[in-house]
Symmetry: C3
Subunit: 386 residues, 3 copies
């Protein structure tokens, strides 16, 4: 399934409007779209102790029992005590700290109410909501939507979960809504300015172009992929500002020793519902989920994945821990975090040419976001981003 | 006046409903019922400096003058400066820190407006609200209701105020509504789970039963008293959990040396309006007021009282300070505080058999809570808890 | 233009009403009246780094370029990034930290959108709001109103800005609404009580009267000036309080050595729109603007100005830094800050005789505050304080 969307939209040169016009579904999704698999907690963070997190505005608690992961709503059905303060008396169960109501982790059903005796009528009658989980590639995924969940593979790229790939993951919390975090990831315009001085770009072996030309997006399977026009030059003359960027001696030196200036990445930026930025690079794939926590908070899961096994997998992971984690997942993404946490979400907008990417993204989400009804029948929605 | 309420209610086995259905008066009383005497401040905390506290959502300030205690609304009638920032220029008065309006502590009347000269027309014309107070048993009680207050004895147990009793008092602030604090105190179900590992129970010389059987409540004078059914065994076999409680070697040892297991307290749990938990023990009485501060805060006054005088009074107090204060008033009640501060007050409820106690309490409050009209004529309300 | 207002108002002895009745315009002006020049930032605080402040509820950012000061709304027109996080790539411009939109500081117009290339259609099409500023007497003044601003001299006293005067300025932030800060400044009643023990009054060489007699106000040019009646005695006998003030040995000693007691300042208290307290003293003028920040915050600019030049200017400034700054601008005004931050803005009021000053002030503001329409035609409003 491939569609072309909006190419040349800006060629018509309609003046972008002020204000911030989101479609009604996207506007309403301040806590995200529930009918998808989301990364919930890292496998290495889920041990014997329960892990309580907020996800899509709901309080969840993750448990591990018999090696498997489970997720329940973090609220005892009885009187409103969070189950994350509970105790494990029998593996595979959690006992609430208030009156000893005990729940089966797999089903959420009340299997004992200790302070009411073994014959308590509460047993089998009450339950807390339990959520489907799958643990793959070092991440515990959770499905909080209505109805049966789709197969995990319908929502998660294979690079992130297949065992013949090597994955390294990091989590960070941003103080900003998930939409600002996702839009920043798909934004064609900011990278040449925000990331110009990142260590990653400085050492990427290229002189980045002064600007990236966005000419629209196309739907490629589950992805909305940016189409790139002719890249801008490595520097240019601006009327008031003069020459920009002003290259450092390092960049000039790199240019001297023969690096081709103005090269763009061969693989463009991709978005995938519900909240994923997906980038293929030469020897690895970078995935970032901007998972909604509450209206003002986002939990970012960044996956660095390569199709390596055995010794090459070790080398890949070593490279990650020695370089990529700090330079890309920390510094580079920290620049985006710095932006997202300072934006005024209520500010009116006036879009410019590279914002064709933002408009494509918003229209795509509006028309493609999965609803509860379609969840089990249609993995990534349908229709055009019109 | 003795009534029997709700016994066997659960025998009918109607399924408890989800949701949280409180009666309209109890539901509205988020800041408590004003037409009662409440403990306001400890005598030993009220010296020369005024003490400003919030009570039932109102800002009050307590003073001491000529050895007596007084309470005013903590707001100058003139321009809204809190009187707790004022100064004492003549004993029995307070002078506001802004313009020198001076109030008589006993009546609240403005007796001078310094910056308007001795002939100020404000004198005698304006006043701040003053509240009736009585200081007994180490506590300054205050009446914030409409009309004349009833005699203090109508609202306060004699153990707490009679001079031939010995009282020791402690105050602690819980971050939770007073209703959660009171309901926790009358809750028949939580003790066998929450307090099982308290030092008080471990050393109480008994093996507590695995569960407490609540069979209803009866109205005994100003108290709503729990009725106890046959106590549960010291341990039992539960389907999924297996044997519980799992007794420690200490408890097993205590059982070996002949302590009778499964013994219940001879005197049951009692509630008294407006917000009191009352427990008689062998040689002392424990009283806890859960005084409403604001919607999310409660000030707990715990009294430990024994009918002792002279040397025995000293021994009683010594026992309190060496043992009871830390083990009961701090650790044991700290377990309840830990619960109350973690409950979600908005969570729907699904009640179980021991919650007959909660339902009795709620119905009793709904039907018996004093209104302003009845305050001076009828001390503890009337009618059945129906 | 001189009008007499309300003299003898209180002689009619109508009982002041409870409640807090402000006129509709003054009541609505919780964030101040915009159609005036306001002090924004001190010259010595505005260097190469932009200074972001909130003023009248709006986020502003001040810049300095080519020695001149500029003010813009602190929000990029594009996506809502504050411009105070931006960078200066060419003097006289600011470049937003997100996508490189660059604005001219003088006009607010977008002069470059770096990441869209030199031919970006955004250039010249978009702009951020820029505010007129004037830098005089060590203060950067800003006009946030509609239409063209009036001449600065129409809103700012010449003492504060004329180069043949010497000015010393200090800024402090109070946690309270600007109206409480202004009313406190014009309040005739509080000084004899609040400031009695200030070091400034103790050493002012006079025994302040026990009370100040307020008999009304008159409009003198752009000022509302208090009229003073016969001053009260240095001390008096009050019914309950007895003799007050109780003079310290220092004050008694000063009285002994011949200082005339009960002397009042020759120049009375003055208010000037939009938010200024103006006091002339023997050898200096004191000006305090209570600039609205947000509903609960005020930024106070205090100017200490004397008509001195050359060596005498140095001596004047030295006196300020060695004495006046600490004793008047810090301690004395700190007493007012302490009051304003503790007032309950919702409290009902009951006014007394000295509050004729408060009533005059409120009526004057209600009838004289400039509207956007009149801004350029009429400097300080018109009409009587009726």
């Amino acid at each position: 399934m491939t569609e072309t969307a909006h190419e040349g939209q800006l060629a018509q040169s309609r003046p972008p409007r002020a204000g911030k016009a989101l479609g009604p579904r996207y506007q309403a999704a301040v806590l995200g779209f529930p009918d998808y698999w989301y990364p919930g907690v890292l496998s290495r963070h889920l041990g014997k102790k329960p892990v309580a997190i907020k996800l899509l505005g709901q309080n969840l608690v993750f448990f591990r029992a018999h090696g498997r992961a489970y997720a329940l709503r973090d609220l005892c059905a009885h009187r409103g005590m969070p189950l994350s303060y509970g105790t494990c008396l029998a593996e595979g169960t959690v006992t609430c700290g208030y009156h000893g109501w005990t729940y089966d982790l797999a089903t959420g059903k009340c299997v004992a109410a200790l302070t009411d005796g073994p014959d308590s009528p509460a047993v089998g009658r009450y339950a807390v909501k339990s959520y489907p989980v799958e643990e793959r590639g070092g991440i515990v995924f959770v499905y909080m939507g209505d109805g049966n969940p789709p197969p995990l593979e319908e929502d998660v790229p294979e690079e992130a979960i297949r065992p013949d790939w090597t994955q390294q993951v990091v989590v960070s919390v941003w103080r900003g809504n998930w939409r600002a975090a996702v839009e920043n990831g798909y934004d064609a315009g900011h990278a040449p300015y925000v990331h110009r001085n990142s260590l990653r770009w400085r050492t990427a072996g290229s002189l980045q172009p002064a600007w990236a030309t966005a000419v629209g997006s196309e739907v490629v399977g589950p992805y909305l992929r940016q189409k790139r026009g002719k890249p801008g030059p490595p520097e240019a003359d601006y009327p008031v500002i003069g020459r920009w960027p002003r290259h450092s001696w390092l960049r000039r030196f790199l240019a001297e020793v023969g690096k081709k200036p103005g090269r763009q990445r061969p693989y463009p930026n991709e978005f995938r519902l519900p909240c994923m930025i997906h980038n293929k690079y030469f020897y690895y794939t970078h995935i970032r989920w901007a998972v909604p926590v509450d209206e003002h908070t986002t939990r970012n899961f960044q996956v660095y994945a390569g199709h390596y096994q055995g010794t090459r997998s070790l080398a890949f992971s070593l490279h990650y821990w020695l370089w990529h984690r700090w330079v890309f997942h920390m510094q580079f993404n920290g620049q985006d975090e710095w932006i997202v946490e300072r934006l005024d979400p209520e500010a009116p907008e006036r879009l410019y040419r590279p914002d064709v990417s933002i408009r494509d993204l918003r229209r795509y989400v509006e028309s493609h976001a999965r609803t509860g009804d379609a969840a089990s029948s249609n993995g990534h929605g349908s229709g055009s981003p019109e």
